[in-house]
Symmetry: none
Subunit: 188 residues, 4 copies
DNA sequence: CATGAATGAGACTTCATTCAT
DNA sequence: AATGAATGAAGTCTCATTCAT
């Protein structure tokens, strides 16, 4: 038996939601894989919706934390800061790729509540600020920061989707290459 | 009455699948929006699964057609060819953004059959060839072509996701800028 | 094309009802096997129920006709009359075994109307009279005629069920033997 | 509340299947009569088909058990053994007439699986052996044992069908009379 | 806390029947 | 007369949720 059933439920649910989507994942599926009774699930979460929202918010939170860990506030060198953020994203993904894919496929869905949407938007703001600073400094192309995020984040997520699907094997070389690509995409 | 009920069903289903996912979309939902009886749907498609597979394959087919339309075979200039493909993708998306988002969110899902997966893979091969040619010519960075596709396609799709979500307004300026970004990402 | 669609519908329906029962047989099944459109069926019969009732009544009628054909009214010899009826039943079954099995499995069912039930009861009365006469004459055992009919008719139908199922091959020898058995069962 | 919902479901389903046939009986019908939710039915049985197969096999099993209970193995007197089997069938029918009628109307139907067919065939073999022994001893008429079973079993079932339909009142006298008829039918 | 039997709303699907052609 | 597309009621089955143990 595991010490923490809640933890088991969360990690199983995250994986299943990431793989099959919210509606394609059933409570019995989660319960069975987490080796708990279906009723147990309802001791920890009021409903399926509250579970998905809890997961979403805590994933964003962890993602945000990792991304800001050891952030080089001291410097004003945007390329260095971009580099830092990128490799922290890599680090986060290595810890829990399902969290990345879960976030990606659940953003803006009809079952997310206001709080989830707010948390996600706050998270985006951190990135927006970084990029806007680069635009002002003239080191990043002058496009709406949301578009720039879409480019970098879109590329990043899709890369890990094909890695997770087994269509590409992860290697330091490739990751470094992709980082360069992403920076080249948006730098002036 | 509409001339073609099958067409109505397909276009409604495409939109709903793109917005809510396969499992989040119900047959009654589709039927109601398409203004047909639920039974009618089953005159045209054997099952919900056969509907989603039909849609998937025909979307890929259309996408593939548009992308290869007027392709500059005469030249060997990869940048020009890349540019062509990119703007054909833009054209396709303008015709039917739901098709783009539908494809993106349904690739590799458990309800797709072998034929759907094959059709999608064939489609990717066209892109792979183009990029591999560029790598050989030394004008595109030497990374696995799947990674390069992920970068460009991932960026592209995510851009249109936020446009569709109303978080960014489409403009020729932005699209041109993004095209430049994408090319800069992968060129040497 | 067949001359008579109604005939095709009836013969297909009879066979299917006999094999799969009323509820296990669908209108599309019948239409397809009879090579007509489903709508065509409704030109000949008001509803599925009216079709099954029509079939039931016409089967009983034919059965009754055959059984009374060349009936030896001149004699009062019950054994001879019994023999006649038995072999007329054999003759009827040889013409259309499905009719026999259809009648057997549809008697007394909830979808039969009053008229069908009446027709069947009238048919039984003919048999009852014959057996009652034999009882009065002291050549048939003194049991309720319905019980005697159940014995003979039950034996007869079940015999042809296993013949139809391919578990027994019909032969004159066996039929003669069974006739003897049936007579021995009820004679004094 | 009842102690055993599964038992309630089974007994209600047996009765309804016997009366209306498999396709004429719906899951909501069964659930309502058994006073359970429709979903409950699916906790006990995977599908309607698995329910009917389970019922079929357990009915045959019970029937077989009752028929072989206290079988006079010590004697080689076939008439006595026949008599025993017949009255054990009567006993079984008195316990659960629906089981008898259910078996009769569901044999060989398209929804029965291989196991069900096998169980039924094994059951028939017991009867075949008994009759074959009688034929060898020269006390039973020389006809294929399947034909003899058809005669006796067909007569027996049909008798109880009309009793169940209220067209004949059961009495010891009649049952004894019918037993004599059945024996007379097949003895030499 | 933990469970899983129980439930009924609602999912997918079928089918008797109608009707425009 | 003949058709089959169209329909919605009703069938089988699933699933989020509750609750007695």
């Amino acid at each position: 038996m595991t010490i923490n059933k809640q933890h088991d439920i969360l990690s199983v649910a995250l994986k299943l939601f990431a793989e099959r989507g919210y509606d394609g994942t059933t409570i019995p599926m989660i319960a069975k894989k987490a080796k708990v009774g279906t009723g147990t699930l309802y001791h920890y979460f009021k409903s399926k919706e509250s579970l998905v929202n809890f997961l979403f918010q805590s994933c964003i939170e962890k993602f945000s934390e990792v991304m800001q860990k050891d952030f080089p506030y001291s410097t004003t060198d945007v390329p260095e800061q971009f580099r830092h953020v990128f490799f922290q994203m890599v680090k986060f993904t290595k810890i829990d790729i399902h969290a990345l894919l879960f976030i990606d496929s659940h953003v803006n869905q009809y079952y997310l509540n206001e709080q989830s949407n707010k948390v996600f938007n706050d998270f985006l703001n951190v990135l927006r600020e970084l990029l806007d600073k680069g635009i002002v400094q003239g080191v990043i192309v002058n496009l709406p920061s949301d578009a720039l995020i879409a480019i970098v984040y879109g590329a990043f997520v899709r890369l890990y989707k094909i890695i997770e699907a087994g269509e590409l094997e992860e290697s330091e070389e490739i990751i470094n290459g992709v980082e360069e690509c992403c920076w080249n995409a948006i730098r002036i």
